[in-house]
């Protein structure tokens, strides 16, 4: 994966973003069906202060970094 392929991915995502404005896409999981996703046990990075610390340890001890996302928990449905 190089800068060019990253650029293609960016372009694809921007096109998707643009298409989302063209017409409504029917959500296949209704808001009232998201109670399980709203449960705190489904939060992907519920505790940022702890997650950033442990990622920091791995980056200091290993040669790889990134790609783990910074997005945090919940599903925005509460």
């Amino acid at each position: 994966m190089n800068k060019r392929s990253t650029g293609r991915i960016c372009l694809t995502l921007f096109v998707l973003l643009g298409l989302s404005a063209c017409g409504p896409i029917e959500p296949w999981v209704k808001p009232y069906e998201r109670d399980r996703l709203a449960d705190p046990i489904m939060a992907l990075d519920g505790d940022a202060v702890s997650v950033s610390y442990i990622q920091h340890v791995y980056e200091a001890r290993e040669g790889a970094r990134g790609g783990e996302g910074g997005a945090g928990g919940g599903c925005g449905c509460n």
């Binding site: 990253t6 973003l17 959500p27 449960d39 040669g63 990134g66 945090g72």
Partner: protein, 379 residues
């Protein structure tokens, strides 16, 4: 100068809580104590994170973090002297919510006696498709200054740029997934000014001597990570995660983990196993054939071929529930403790403490205990 890679932390702090852009993160304060103990290195200190909304559209976040380091690592024991050091890091950030879009800015500053780092980051998150999809684009710029504690005149620059794209997707009413791409470019002084490489030297009693390492002054890395979390038929969850990494130094890695989260009354237990395997940098060698044998040379065990295993156990206790309590403005609180047991096998990094003849030194292994305890208050 131990912990210096801040860019991804800046991104994490900038993005934390923004998986779904249409909602600002909860107001909360975390008070954390961390302890790393392994391989002759002990690092501990506090971390305090405060997040608070201002009005309906803005959320501010601040973090203060300290590493107190006492090091007699194998690198220090074999080529230098044990030392103590302190690293202080603070960050400030803001999220602005407008419709289904969240814009975030963040600044991180880290100061050590011989290393200063400043990182600026910006990200935009957009909710789409009935809030089933969140797209996040991020950029971070790092501006570091590397010094030597034994040479006041020594000062080198290191610039970093980080590009990241992430998608969080609700797939079913029980399944959520995330896909991230991240590119990091670095240009400047990338090696550790204190570390040395080993080369064969027949004039030495040991048969080898040391000379300063010399890294390339550029590095570009790409990483793609994916993970999914599934709500089990009973109230529990499992998460699988995989990351592929490759860079221009020929380090290639695969990282995978599996987690299980199980709540019981006011407690939540989490167990996790993580596996990481990487190849070494093309300029890495445990023993060079002679002095200045190659244009670039390094013997940092972190860029050598290695395999690491981590077992993690975590327990969280919610001692204050959001169901009408008498703690004033505090709605909910919990305390969390976790222990990570890290083991690393190095494939090409010899343990020179054994003072064995060249070629018969045992390979080095690292065991570390990583402990965290933190209190969280929501308000």
């Amino acid at each position: 100068m131990i912990l210096r890679r801040l860019t991804s932390i800046a991104l994490l702090l900038a993005l934390a809580g923004n998986a779904f852009a249409g909602v600002l993160p909860d107001d909360r304060t975390d008070l954390l104590y961390h302890l790393y103990d392994g391989g002759g290195v002990e690092i501990d200190g506090p971390s305090v994170l405060v997040r608070k909304k201002v009005g309906k559209s803005v959320s501010l976040v601040g973090n203060y973090y300290v590493d107190m380091i006492s090091s007699a690592s194998i690198d220090v024991v074999t080529t230098a002297s044990p030392y103590t050091e302190e690293r202080t890091q603070w960050s400030l950030g803001a999220d602005y919510l407008h419709g289904n879009t969240t814009m975030s800015v963040n600044y991180v500053s880290s100061v050590e006696s011989d290393y200063d780092a400043s990182t600026y980051s910006f990200s935009v998150s957009q909710d789409m498709f009935g809030d089933l999809t969140t797209l996040t684009l991020s950029y971070a710029l790092g501006d570091d200054i590397v010094r030597r504690s034994d040479d006041p005149a020594f000062m080198r620059d290191l610039d970093k740029q980080n590009y990241s794209i992430g998608i969080t997707q609700i797939l079913t009413k029980n399944l959520i997934a995330q896909l991230n791409f991240e590119t990091l470019t670095e240009e400047g002084f990338l090696n550790n000014p204190y570390r040395s490489v080993r080369y064969a030297d027949s004039g030495s009693a040991l048969g080898y001597s040391f000379e300063p390492e010399l890294y390339p002054n550029t590095r570009t890395s790409n990483a793609v990570g994916m993970r999914a979390r599934y709500f089990l038929p009973y109230r529990a969850a499992v998460e699988g995660e995989y990351r592929y990494f490759i860079d221009t130094w020929d380090i290639e890695s695969h990282t995978g983990s599996l987690s299980y989260i199980h709540p019981w009354r006011d407690l939540t237990f989490t167990g996790k196993f993580r596996y990481h395997s990487q190849t070494g940098a093309h300029f890495y060698s445990d023993l060079f054939s002679r002095s200045e044998a190659t244009n670039f040379r390094g013997r940092d065990k972190e860029i050598s071929a290695l395999t690491s295993y981590t077992f993690m156990l975590q327990a969280a206790y919610e001692f204050l529930s959001d169901d009408g309590n008498d703690w004033g403005f505090i709605k909910k609180a919990k305390v969390t403790g976790s222990l990570n047991l890290l083991h690393i096998d190095y494939d090409e990094f010899s343990d020179l403490r054994a003072l064995e003849p060249i070629g018969s030194e045992p390979l080095y292994k690292l065991d570390a205990d990583i402990f965290q305890i933190f209190f969280t208050f929501w308000y």
